[in-house]
Symmetry: C2
């Protein structure tokens, strides 16, 4: 358990304060990153229905599939009495849903009381069927979209969390450099992914790697005009560029990083794009300091791009921390024109300049922590276009 | 594109037949495995709202985030006119949702017509907010839970799909044997995971590895009484047993496999459990042939276990094929007492005997295809408890 009881208690307290502000009597948490944040629970069980119920006056209750409940005490800082397991006979059945079992079990413990109950309407693992089953089983509950209530509490990291983010950054640096060492024309994308995946798990300097929420993404050649392409057996060819986007992970905390590698002399338009992007990222990182809004930071970038004759519609970054598949973003702040969040020490962001043109593209990013004086880089990889 | 246009057309036709049977005028598909099955589309874009609309009389329409739509033609066998991208300004906004944009775009194309429209209520990436936004934006649609409509079409594999499953099995065999070669007391779990992850991506004999829907799971020592524990920096100790569960993947098709490794002489109770499990699995595999029901197969296992003095509450396996995080199961048939599905040639299953006791456990499995005469093994790893 990487965090002590006091830290978990402080997190829970912060969540309850937000629940008061939102007039919520209880909160149903499903996002595995939020469950991990509040309890330490960590296992690949989130593909089955599970939830954490947070109330104001009692310890949270974790309810999940019985086979997973059996060993949940190994990672969750909760007493056995607060871990409930639904029977196997409720798994994948057309006529009954585990959330109905869970609500009944909570009711037996006096935890289903009339009131406003928040749920995470945009969480990936709260299925519509889970939601409808909960709604039917708990008519006392007025279900309210709590939006990203717990995610917002996660926005500013504690000193212990910042240590994890730095460790994740070291793993990421090592994995990216391992990729640079290995890449060559004639190699399959999957062979490059193998090298990176190995380095991500191995970690570095006594930091064990943990699994990334997203696998190595390697948009290559013309396909680099689109992000989020994963790897295949396609062979890398001389003259192509590869956009690498990977993360280093330490105990579920993620530090992502993107770099672009040109296999041989880059096309002139790619080099020009990469130069503009790098200069813009320098400018942005220099401008990120406590007190500035994300919209102000974004404006620096937009002005720079406009002057250079480029455009980028997508946001320039987002908050990072704990990640579970399918995403390492925290789903709160974004670096874009309409986000007036004020930067504060302890925030951690992935600042990513992904320039997806037509038939080519480049990606360049940094994972950073906001410190008193400006940004602290979490990763340490040279920022220029890499030529191999 | 691993499958030709005829094969995709046949899949679509099979889905439409089931839509007729379910009295559906249209179907909203969100499960990335189902979208891949019907179009070939493949990218790590499913963490953002996206859907495929299937109607009876027109080509399907894929709607997703604009940056992903831009390159979707590289994997999706759809004309550009059937790929829609919602603007970046709709991403992560509290006051508007991409599904509203998508419904409007579909309406402009005449595709939002009054009728019964199926949706996947238990799909992981159809969030409650997506569902509610769709419901509000398309009042003409009577939304009906289509359950696992497309998943059921996937149950029986085509000859081309069976080739992919065999390729996945070869990758899995290589990755499991790489793990056996590397494992030793004193090694961190993450170091073992690194070796396995490397082998999973490298593939074998000309088959490129693709990324697995689930990372290597390595429940170790006492924690092996629970499945789904992922890896950490914990050091493997002499005398402990490790339950490995991994998959080999070829072009999104998964062949999973579980084995148990004892680091040194196994405890007597583990060896006894492993022997009973192995004999039971032999019996079950021998009993799996076309015409038998899954409940009948399960009864063979239950009788064997009961005679040996053990119990297992969880199912003995499930259908496999295309997988995306967080699951490689197809969510249709299960090997358990209440599943009367009749085995037929072309079905592929992961038969997994996971015996989770208290303070120890063992896992043993095979990925198989049902052939005319019985099972075809997709993986080739000796079935006894491995001692290292």
């Amino acid at each position: 358990m990487p965090f002590d009881a006091d830290e978990l208690a402080a997190r829970l307290q912060a969540v309850r304060l937000r629940m008061v502000a939102a007039d919520l009597d209880a909160l149903v948490v499903v996002d595995p990153a939020n469950i991990h944040y509040l309890t330490g629970y960590d296992a690949w069980s989130f593909y089955m229905p599970q939830l954490l119920l947070v109330t104001h006056d009692e310890e949270p209750v974790l309810a999940l599939r019985s086979m997973d409940a059996h060993g949940a005490h190994r990672t969750a800082r909760l007493p056995a009495s607060r871990i409930l397991g639904y029977p196997e006979t409720w798994v994948h059945q057309p006529d009954r849903h585990p959330f109905a079992w869970i609500v009944d079990a909570l009711r037996e413990r006096g935890l289903v009381r009339a009131g406003r109950v928040g749920y995470e309407a945009e969480a990936h693992f709260l299925t519509v069927r889970s939601f409808l089953a909960m709604q039917r089983a708990a008519p006392e509950w007025t279900l309210v979209d709590a939006e990203q209530l717990v995610n917002w509490v996660r926005l500013v990291k504690s000193p212990a969390e910042l240590e994890r983010m730095r460790a994740a950054g070291r793993v990421c640096t090592a994995a990216m450099l391992a990729g640079f060492d290995a890449i060559r024309p004639g190699m399959g994308q999957h062979e490059l992914a193998a090298v990176v995946a190995h380095a991500q798990a191995m970690g570095v300097d006594g930091v064990a790697g943990d699994y990334p929420a997203i696998v190595p993404m390697l948009p290559t050649g013309e396909a680099a005009d689109t992000p989020h392409m994963t790897y295949s057996g396609r062979v890398l060819e001389a003259g192509e560029a590869v956009s690498f986007e990977i993360a280093g992970v330490s105990e579920r905390y993620h530090a992502p990083l993107a770099r672009t590698v040109s296999l041989g002399r880059p096309m002139r338009e790619l080099q020009a794009l990469a130069d503009v992007t790098a200069a813009g990222l320098d400018l942005v990182l220099d401008g990120m300091r406590p007190g500035r809004t994300l919209a102000e930071v974004h404006a620096l970038w937009q002005e720079h791009l406009r002057a250079a004759g480029y455009e980028k519609a997508s946001r320039l970054g987002y908050s990072i921390g704990i990640g579970y598949p399918p995403d390492w973003g925290e789903h709160t702040v974004s670096i874009r024109g309409d986000d007036d969040t004020v930067l504060a020490p302890g925030m951690t962001l992935h600042v990513i300049a992904g320039m997806w043109m037509t038939g080519f593209g480049c990606e360049l990013s940094e994972s950073v922590a906001i410190a008193e004086g400006g940004v602290e880089l979490l990763t340490h990889v040279p920022r220029e276009l890499v030529v191999r």
